[in-house]
Symmetry: C2
Subunit: 215 residues, 2 copies
DNA sequence: CCTACCGATCGGTAGG
DNA sequence: CCTACCGATCGGTAGG
């Protein structure tokens, strides 16, 4: 309303002829695009994807609904982009913080802890992912950069049975799914300002997960 | 389509003057009402409450959309009734299957096991509850017969710390929430026809929850 | 339960 | 990004 940059038709043109272009599309690096994603994430997390209207998002941004189509082609673009980016970010984070060697049960504990910390630090986006991703059409869902988190957990259980740090009777698949539930459930109840810090919460959940499978 | 009972205006009248009436409202005990709930549950579980249209439900029932209003006043009635009834049923089930005495950690294990079995046996309805209940308006949500499941879990952890069957360093609140997540997460992945039976799944999850807190 | 209907809103578009 | 617009559909209602 006050000092917004006007670019006129540039964006639209850029989107239409996206093949051999020097000037970038408006999206990446643009401040307004980031705002749009932020508002969309908050609204999707609060009311759900389907109950969210583009009119509501536009209102919050102080623009007209039709103007949103300068940034997106469909409503689903917003959901997809949010889910995609949080997956990429999580992947990076876990890659740099979870070691590749050492006793499997230790690695599992670290993995769970870092997973929970990430979840809490990106609560809005992870909520959108965990609660709304199934609203994506099948073809869009197939294009998500899923990083096989369950497979990773399963492998840790298998490794742990081999290195003797995890109970021999543990079920890798069921175990992985249950650990995942214990960790992911955080998005259903965590709200800033509670008694425990994110680190304390992550620590406690990780400890419980460890104990649940430890030899 | 073939042998459906026609009652004409009776139902509508019955609904409008619900005060001092001998003849019951159409709803309770009516076969068609049960069908409606069933279709609604399946659709809400599959596509989400908000993405579900009354037109779609009516189509599946072979009636016109407007006719649904013979049974309901608003779309939310369907969601509320589904969530309400599954809560009541769960309460009953757990009351009759989980003992009130014995070592706390044992009771906790049984509680989790029965909870998971119930979840799986009523997967559609529990999915609606766990994934869609927050689509209810605040006042409707306040009218739900919530049976304090978390509080019950918390108390078991506290009891267990007293009777020595649960680790002294366990956090009752965090512990209860984490157990709840491990158990509830089942609705996100369980599908009939898998490798493990509901009982095996429930048994394994319950065991893990036990171990996660056991002294 | 059907007929017939409504206001509101939805996602989305053409053109600038 | 705005103007101006559209077809489709939404939940819901009056009356029988």
């Amino acid at each position: 309303m006050t000092g917004k940059t006007r670019v006129g038709e540039v964006g639209r043109t850029a989107r239409k002829s996206r093949s051999g272009r020097t000037e970038a599309t408006r999206k990446p690096g643009d401040e307004r695009w980031a705002e749009l994603l932020q508002v969309a994430a908050k609204t999707f997390a609060d009311k759900g994807y389907s109950a969210t209207t583009l009119q509501g998002i536009a209102d919050e941004l102080g623009m007209l609904k039709g103007s949103l189509y300068y940034y997106i082609r469909t409503k689903e673009d917003l959901l997809f982009e949010l889910v995609r980016s949080v997956l990429v970010l999580a992947e990076e984070r876990l890659a740099e913080r979870v070691p590749d060697d050492g006793p499997a049960v230790d690695r599992l504990e670290v993995l769970v802890r870092e997973h929970v910390i990430f979840l809490i630090e990106h609560l809005t986006e992870t909520t959108v992912y965990l609660h709304e991703a199934d609203q994506l059409t099948a073809d869009r869902r197939a294009k998500l950069p899923v990083h096989g988190f369950i497979a990773r957990l399963e492998k840790l259980v298998v490794d742990g049975k081999e290195d003797g740090t995890i109970r021999p009777d543990a079920d890798p698949h069921l175990g992985a799914l249950t650990i995942l539930g214990a960790a992911n459930w955080v998005y259903r109840w965590y709200r800033p300002g509670g008694n425990s810090s994110p680190e304390e919460i992550a620590e406690e959940i990780a400890r419980m997960c460890r104990k649940s499978l430890e030899a």
